[in-house]
Structures are given as C-alpha cells and as structure tokens.
C-alpha cells in the first residue's frame, strides 16, 4: 500500500500528468467562476477528451476540475451575491454582506484559504477510508456486487425531487436508455428500430452532455442576465487568512462534516455547504452577526463544500456506486478508461486511487493559490458576455459527442436527450436519478444473470447481500420520509 502511495505521488509529478492537473484546475476555476456553469458541465465536456489520454493523465485532469469549482465559485458569491455554482449558495449569506461592508478582500481571502484546507482534509478522509474499505470490497462476489448495484439504485430516494414516483420513473427511463443495444448475455439488439447505429450501446458522452450541459446552456442563454462582477482591485485578502486562522476548530469541524456528508449518497457539495453553515450558526457563539457579514459564515460553508468532494469519491472508487451526478460522470470516465471500480482498482490498480488522492490534495492547494493570486482577473473574466461564450461551449458539446465514434447518430442522441432533459428540468423531473439508472444498468443486469447462474435464487440469502439490501430498504424509507416532510 505504501508503494502505491509513493509511486502515485511521483506519477502525478511527471510533467505530462501534472500539466493535465493544472489544465483541470484552470478549466474547473473557469466553470466555477461563471454563474450558470458548474463542475458537472465541465466534466461532461471533458469526458470525451479523457479517452485520448492514459488513466494517469485523465484522472488528474478530472480531479483537478472537480476539486476547484467549489473554490472559484465563491468569487461571484461574494462580489455579486450570485453563487458561481450551487455549492456556494450558503456562502452568499455572509460573503455578500461582507463585500457590501467593504470587506470583499477579507471574505475572499478567507474563502480561498479555508477551501484549500477543507479540500486537503477531504483528501485525508478519502485516504484513511482506503484501508477500511479494501478488505470489505475484496470479500465481495457477484451477488454482493449485484446487491451494491441495487443499493446504488435505491439512492434514487435521495436524488429525487419532491415527487418520489417521478424519481423512480426517471431511474427506470435511465435503465431503459442503457438497455438500448445488445443484451449482455445473447448480444441480441434491443430497441434498435432497424438502425445500425443503435446496434451499439448509446454513447455515454452524448447522453451525459445532453442531460446536463444542453439544458443549462439553453437556460443560461434564455435568461440573458448580464453578469458584472466588478473590475476594481480587491485588497485585504491576507486579513481574511489571518482572521480564518483564529477559527481552527470551525475549519476542522466543518471540513470533517463536509467529508462525511460527501460520503453519504445523494448529498454532495450543496448539502454540505448548507449543513455546515447551519451548524456554525447553531454552535458558534455569539451568533447575532450571522447573515450580516460574519466571517464564520463564510469559513464554515466554504471548508465543507471542498471537503465533500473527497468524501463523495469513496463510494465511487470502492464500490462503483456514484452518489452524485459529478461522481456518476467520473464513473463513466473510469469505464471509458477500462477501469472497473471495486476489487481490481483496490488491488492491482491501487496506485490510481492514491493518484486521485494526491491529485485532490495538490489541486486544492493550487486552486486556492491560483484564486488568491488572480482574484482581480477572475472577477473580470466573470464579465464575459454569455452570447459569445455559450455558442462556443455548444460547439464543444457537439464536437465532444462526435469525438468517440464520429457518427451523426451521436449528435441526434445529444439533441434528443438535450430536449428531453430540458423538459425534465422545467417540469421538476429529477435528472440525476435518470443518470444513476443509466450508469448502474450494466452492473445490475450482467451481475444479476451471472449471480443467478452461480447461486440460483439463493444469492439473496447470502449474509452480506442481506445486510446491503437491508441498508437499501432503510435508505429508501428514510429518503422518502425526509422528502415527504
């Protein structure tokens, strides 16, 4: 394990791999900065490119991107009261009043500093979990992985919106989309409608871009909101760092809380951001300044949202169960690289897990330094006219979906899923539940047939399977109850 830990460090610092990490950080910062764009869109856009590189280059690229969107998104949250991504919503509550009180630099300094610390604590949380989950995953067989697939699907309960039935239907549609093409046993084409294109599985990149990039861009363009993040010089950032250092316990507590929330399926940065803020208001005394420009109201949510990224990677890497849209897309990237999360990743490819951990650590440090050094320029970048930026991103989306196979069918898939997803978005149908079904279907169907061939129906009575299915049932009940309240 130590070998893998050390070798991953040296792999990351090979010039090419490190360059990809930096590229991921730059792209992630840009997407975090522009309100309306986010890490999910960025990963979806970069997904086709990851095919072209080795896993040692592709993983730092994706992790670099994932890690820093929650750092850069605080710039617009503080300066104009508009969170760059949903993960910094709570930061607005005290960050924006601080900016209006003339303390923008102090707020941003605190944001960048605690984001870096929070991200590092998240990476430590992830690395500590490897020795715990490794023996568990190694004891798993076909039946247990099938049960894990069912557990993953049960997360629809928490990924769904206010109507649980819509969540289940969306997950079923995702499962059905993934069934298009050859079945895993007899390789007979399903729902091909007589076309050659559909004899293959649907292009995961085109589906991901269609469901998460197209609707957001359309709405961004339709909104037509001018973004003005200011163009003046922002000073006083060092004061923010000094002030933050007086709240070490708050940073540590919020980061641990954020890591744990990230680990829980379906939670992620948005929940971590809000829960950490709420906990700060409850436990920090005096609390009468919260909401009026209290720096603790910036420290707690910003350290938690960065830390949650590390926590969210645990179920994805250990079991291949994505708990959020971003990790579902990352799972797709791993598949495209021929990497299967779980047993083989934690044994023969353990260095890749540590590569993720090192990338996460370094990306958080570099991301915070970059944001600190270029705050003024970043603030100006947020002023880019969306009518110029968006069509270029649309071109990237189309090219990205064409990149893998070069077939016009991929563009049609992108267009159809994009329109369908836009309707879903506006009618409050949960798109993450659909994506969860789409990425879990291969795991479910193949493992089901193999497990029933080996064990018959007795696969259900295996002890670990019963425990996992029990957790799934409890998760579904608790998830639905919390939604119904």
């Amino acid at each position: 394990m130590l070998d893998a830990f050390v070798s991953a460090f040296f792999i990351l610092f090979q010039p090419t791999n490190f360059a990809f990490l930096v590229l991921g950080i730059l792209v992630g910062s840009f997407f975090g900065l522009i309100p309306g764009l986010n890490g999910v869109i960025a990963i979806a856009l970069l997904l086709p490119f990851t095919l072209l590189f080795s896993p040692e280059a592709a993983l730092p690229l994706i992790i670099g991107l994932l890690a820093v969107t929650t750092t850069a998104d605080s710039i617009t949250a503080v300066l104009i009261g508009t969170p760059g991504t949903a993960g910094s919503q709570a930061t607005v509550l005290d960050g924006y009043p601080m900016a209006r009180n003339g303390e923008a630099g102090k707020a941003l300094g605190a944001c960048f500093f605690v984001s870096g610390i929070g991200g590092i604590i998240g990476a430590i949380f992830l690395s500590l979990s490897v020795p715990i989950f490794k023996p568990m995953v190694l004891s798993f067989g076909l039946a247990e992985f099938l049960a894990m697939g069912i557990l993953g699907l049960s997360m629809v309960a928490v990924l769904t919106g206010t109507n649980p039935l819509k969540g289940v239907i969306a997950a079923c549609i995702g499962l059905m989309l993934a069934m298009v093409g050859p079945d895993p046993i007899n390789l007979i084409g399903r729902w091909t409608f007589g076309t050659d294109y559909l004899l293959d599985k649907l292009n995961v990149v085109a589906v991901a871009l269609g469901f998460f990039a197209v609707p957001e861009l359309i709405d961004l363009l339709a909104g037509g909101q001018p973004i003005h993040a200011g163009d003046g010089r922002i000073s006083g950032k060092m004061n923010g760092i000094r002030e933050s250092m007086k709240h070490k316990r708050l940073i540590f507590g919020s980061s641990v809380l954020g890591s744990f929330i990230g680990f829980l399926p379906g939670m992620g940065t948005v929940v971590a951001n809000w829960v950490a803020y709420s906990c700060a208001v409850i436990f920090c005394k005096p609390n009468d300044r919260f909401g009026k420009g209290d720096i603790r109201g910036v420290i707690a949510p910003e350290s938690a949202n960065n830390a949650s990224v590390g926590g969210a990677l645990i179920p994805t890497l250990a079991f291949g169960i994505p708990g959020s849209t971003a990790t579902a897309l990352m799972l797709a990237a791993l598949w495209m690289q021929g990497i299967t999360p779980g047993q083989s990743l934690l044994t023969s490819q353990l260095y890749l897990v540590y590569l993720v951990i090192w990338s996460l650590t370094v990306a958080n440090i570099l991301g915070a330094l970059l944001a600190y050094a270029f705050t003024d320029q970043f603030a100006k970048l947020a002023n880019v006219r969306i009518e110029i930026l968006a069509p270029l991103i649309i071109v990237c989306i189309f090219a990205g979906s064409l990149l893998d196979t070069g077939q016009y069918g991929d563009i049609l898939v992108l267009l159809v899923t994009g329109v369908f997803a836009w309707c879903m978005k506006h009618l409050d149908w949960p798109r993450p539940a659909l994506m969860l079904g789409f990425v879990l279907e291969p795991l479910l169907e193949l493992n089901y047939f193999q497990a029933t061939m080996v064990f018959g129906w007795h696969w259900v009575t295996r002890p670990i399977v019963m425990i996992i299915l029990g957790i799934a049932v409890v998760g579904v009940v608790l998830g639905y109850r919390s939604r119904m309240r």
């Binding site: 039935l165 059905m176 861009l217 709405d219 339709a222 909104g223 009518e387 189309f398 090219a399 070069g406």
Partner: protein
Amino acid sequence: MQRRIISNLAFEAFLIVALAVLTYQAHDWAGETRLFPYAVGRLALVLTVVVFVQEALGLWRLRKTPAAEDAAAEVEAPEDDGLPDENSPAFIARAVRELLWVLGYCGAIGLAGFSGGTFVFLFAYFKVRAGMSWVQGLLWAGGSTAVMVVLFVKLASMRPFEGLLWKLWT
C-alpha cells in the same frame, strides 16, 4: 399553476405512449433479452400512469375550486431575487428560440459537416444574437472555427464528419 400542470400532463402523456410502445416491443423478445427491459418498462409505464392520474385529479380539483388556485399561486410565487423566472412564458419562449438555434446547428452539421456547420452556426449566432458587425462576426466565427478544428480534428483525432452536401458533391 394550471399551465404548469397541463405541461406536466402533456409530458407524462408523451412518456406513457413512448413507454407503452417500448414495452410492447420488449414483450416479443425471448429469455434474457426480454427480462430486464420488459420488467423495467412495465414498472415505468404503471408508475407514469399513476403520476398522470394524480396530476389530472389535481387539475380537476383546481378547476373545481378557483380559490385553491389563488392559494397555490400565492405559495408558489417566488421571491424577487433579481434572477429570471425560469417558468414564465417569456423565458420559455426565449429558451425555445435557443433550442431552435441548437437544432439549426445540428442541421448545419448534417448538411455542411463539422467545420462548415460550425462556421455557419457561429457566424449566424454572433451576427444575430451577439449583435456583432459583419466583419467582427466573420473574424470571430472564422477564428473560433479554426481553433475548434485544430483542437478536435487535428489534436483529438476526431473523425471529421463531412456532411450531406460534401457526399453529394463527391
């Protein structure tokens, strides 16, 4: 409120028809090929019908008691946070217009290939939507297309999609 429910009903009606067709097709398949699609399709179909009936009943109740609609509208009214209301008719109309641009780009690629379609789309968009002058639009669209072609076709080895016009020509 009523408009929203009617939109939902239309979407669900579309889903019911699509799921019914897909499930009916799966019914004819054999053994392992059929098991998952048929089971999942039937479940989705039944649940969609349930949601459709729920929404239809909700609409019926609203129409029966107009006071309930006022109360619901009051509850639904968003705070004015300076952001556009993403469900207002004006917003939806603008979004549909943007979707048509995307559809146009899709058609342009089909006809003129990736490079040609991209140039036409970018130039038209910059000229019409971004309000650039002819020269500015041409320069921006030409430059951006060149960058995209280098990035995707040359560096990322994308198979250049040639388009119908080129195929007819050759």
